[in-house]
């Protein structure tokens, strides 16, 4: 077991190392000089340019030897220092990100868990009811083929503009100051509902279809046939099939995390939800490279941690992996 997790952990660490290195390398290998790009944007008087160039070179550490820059980068990273945001007037990137994280997590965690739970339940149900099956399949396929942001746009348009039920922009009402009052919490919730719902819907379709297909496959597996031959009621057989069909769904969750996170980012953009996604858009639009790099590293780290959690969950559910780790199976 320790060996298994050791192996997993080393892959994740390697991934993080590779990703961070790419992150660091890109601005240094891309055509054009990021500092020049930066300066050309701001209307500086020409005589200030050399001074500003020197300032930024120093700020970015570009005036140091190449290797030194790389070492500094890791040293800073390990101290949680992701540099400073240019567009937010020098605020530390790490802090800027941490302020946005709760919003993103508040969207992602419930959307992932609930859609996974509901999708699996629904898919299992569909697998045995022809009528439901005929409805679930087309809807499921349409939902999963929908780009996250478009579903978000449609949801916002229908429920926000046409029906006017929910606010379509922001994390809370601009008229309020963040505080622990019921009014504020109510506003938070009202703003949360639509981004959450649109994320939930896209993912829900995928899980439902996946579960349906897996259940059908499991119901044809040898253990199911044996139980049927011994007259076990279909309830028991389905319960077993469901449990075994969950395993690939857990793996699917792990492999989907990157895509889901990306989906959450664009959803936030549609709703101007003050999470990482909105921050990302601002970084792109303002060519704030430190912020962009910081967000990238943060997202990578988040996805890796989530992957590790899913790995642990998988091991807890599937005895085969546990035993395989002890080296008892070939």
């Amino acid at each position: 077991m320790r060996r298994y997790f050791g192996r997993k952990l080393s892959i994740y660490l390697l991934t993080f190392f590779v990703a961070a290195t790419i992150d660091w390398l890109i601005p240094r290998f891309m055509p054009g000089n990021p500092v020049q790009t930066l300066l050309s944007r701001s209307a500086l008087p020409p005589e200030a340019v050399p001074a500003m160039t020197a300032y930024y070179n120093n700020l970015f550490g570009l005036d140091q030897p190449f290797i030194q820059q790389y070492v500094n980068f890791w040293a800073a990273l390990l101290h949680g220092d992701l540099g400073r945001s240019v567009y937010l007037s020098g605020a530390p990137v790490a802090k800027v990100i941490m302020d946005a994280v709760p919003y993103t997590l508040a969207l992602l965690v419930p959307a992932i868990l609930l859609s996974w739970w509901a999708g699996n339940k629904f898919g299992a149900l569909a697998a045995r009811r022809a009528l439901l099956d005929n409805a679930v399949l087309p809807i499921g396929y349409i939902l999963t083929a929908t780009p996250y942001m478009w579903l978000a746009i449609v949801v916002a348009w229908v429920f926000g503009i046409v029906l006017g039920i929910f606010p379509i922009s922001g994390g809370y009402s601009y008229a309020l100051e963040p505080s622990l009052t019921w009014t504020f919490i109510g506003s938070l919730l009202a703003h949360w509902v639509m981004p959450f719902a649109s994320l939930f819907l896209v993912m829900f379709g995928g899980w439902a279809i996946g579960m349906r297909n897996m259940i059908i496959y499991e119901l044809d597996a040898d253990y199911s046939r044996y139980l049927k031959a011994l007259g076990a009621p279909s309830g028991l057989i389905r319960r077993y099939a469901f449990r075994n069909a969950m395993l690939p769904q857990i793996t699917g969750l792990a492999l989907q995390l990157g895509v889901i996170v990306a989906g959450a980012l664009v959803t936030e953009i549609v709703f101007s939800y003050p999470g990482i996604g909105k921050l990302l858009l601002a970084a792109v639009q303002n060519e704030d490279y430190f912020l962009l790099q910081g967000i990238f590293l943060f997202v990578i780290g988040g996805v890796l941690v989530a992957n590790f959690l899913v790995d642990i969950a998988y091991v807890l559910v599937d005895p085969r992996t546990r035993l395989g780790m002890r080296g008892e199976s070939a």
Binding site: D222, Y226, A229, L230, A232, L247, P319
Partner: protein
């Protein structure tokens, strides 16, 4: 009589039409009898075994009756048959190695199954452990996952589980074919032991290996192309088979002691007919050295001597 099968017909549905895998089979199985069922692949022997337990979606019940202990089985009715499965008629399937749910501890699975059939696991546990010991397993296996067991252990576990409720009839479907010779013998002898201890009354042992059947079966039934060719006590068939197919089949099997240089054996030329649109008359006709005009008509499966039935015009 434990089991009476009369004119049983079960077909497979395919797009090309019905495959007549079981095309009118009639036989009896006496109390305490171990009947060996042998034949070439595709002759319908496994279909016969399966249709007595569970006719699944791909199979189609066409005609015939099955009576077990005097009661007619609703073999065409999947739901009503549930009552009989496991308790009255049970199977050790061909895929015994993968028959256990991989993500449940074996004891838990057995308990779930028993409780779902209205049997208290607690009451059965002592008997279960006794039978496990009989096949060389300890109660510790109940606390294990299937992956922790070797292939042979899983096979024995399934054997014990399938017979736990003392069914009247047990179907053992190709249960030795994936095993090494040493395990084959152990498994085959366990079947005999189960009968001796009264765990099962009658048994149909399906295999393509006639020599295994010679070791354990009281009677031998040979199938050919969806029909029964011959049924007789094992020793009778071995000494004096009446159906030409049986005869040729047995004489094509090499025995320890027979050598190519000294006595060259030979197989049966030709292949069995397609069961999609089988030709009329005796289905062995094309390969049969004794065939004559009469064989264009279908030979009935008749008793030519006590407990010895054959479907062949030359004999009957």
């Amino acid at each position: 009589m434990t089991l009476q099968v009369t004119d049983l017909r079960v077909y497979y549905r395919t797009l090309a039409g019905d495959v007549r895998a079981l095309d009118g089979v009639t036989f009896d199985l006496a109390d305490g009898e171990i009947m060996g069922l042998a034949g070439e692949s595709g002759c319908g022997k496994s279909t016969l075994g399966n249709s007595l337990v569970r006719i699944d979606g791909r199979m189609k019940y066409v005609a015939g009756t099955v009576r077990l202990d005097g009661l007619e089985l609703p073999i065409a009715d999947m739901d009503r048959m549930d009552e009989f499965r496991f308790k009255d008629i049970s199977i050790i399937p061909q895929y015994a190695m993968s028959a256990l749910n991989p993500t449940r501890k074996i004891g838990r699975m057995v308990a779930d199954l028993l409780e779902s059939r209205g049997v208290r696991f607690g009451e059965m546990r002592t008997e279960l452990e006794r039978r496990l010991l009989l096949v060389g397993l300890t109660e510790a296996v109940l606390d294990r996952y299937p992956i922790e067991l070797s292939g042979g252990m899983k096979q024995r576990m399934v054997m014990v589980l399938s017979t736990l409720l003392n069914p009247s009839l047990l179907i053992a479907d190709e249960i030795t074919s994936a095993l090494d010779v040493t395990s084959q013998r152990a498994v085959a002898e366990t079947l005999v032991e189960f009968r001796a201890r009264g765990f099962v009354k009658g048994m149909i042992v399906i295999t393509h290996d006639v020599s295994i059947l010679y070791q354990v079966a009281d009677t031998l039934t040979i199938m050919y192309a969806g029909k029964l060719a011959e049924k007789a006590p094992t020793s009778v068939i071995m000494q004096k088979a009446l159906h030409p197919y049986t005869d040729l089949l047995i004489s094509s099997l090499p025995e320890v002691g027979v050598r190519f240089d000294e006595r060259r054996l030979s197989g049966i030329p030709g292949t069995p007919p397609s069961l999609l649109n089988p030709p009329p008359g005796c289905r062995f006709r094309d390969r049969c050295p004794l065939a004559f005009e009469k064989c264009a008509e279908e030979p009935p499966f008749v008793e030519v001597a006590p407990d010895h039935s054959v479907a062949c015009w030359k004999v009957a």
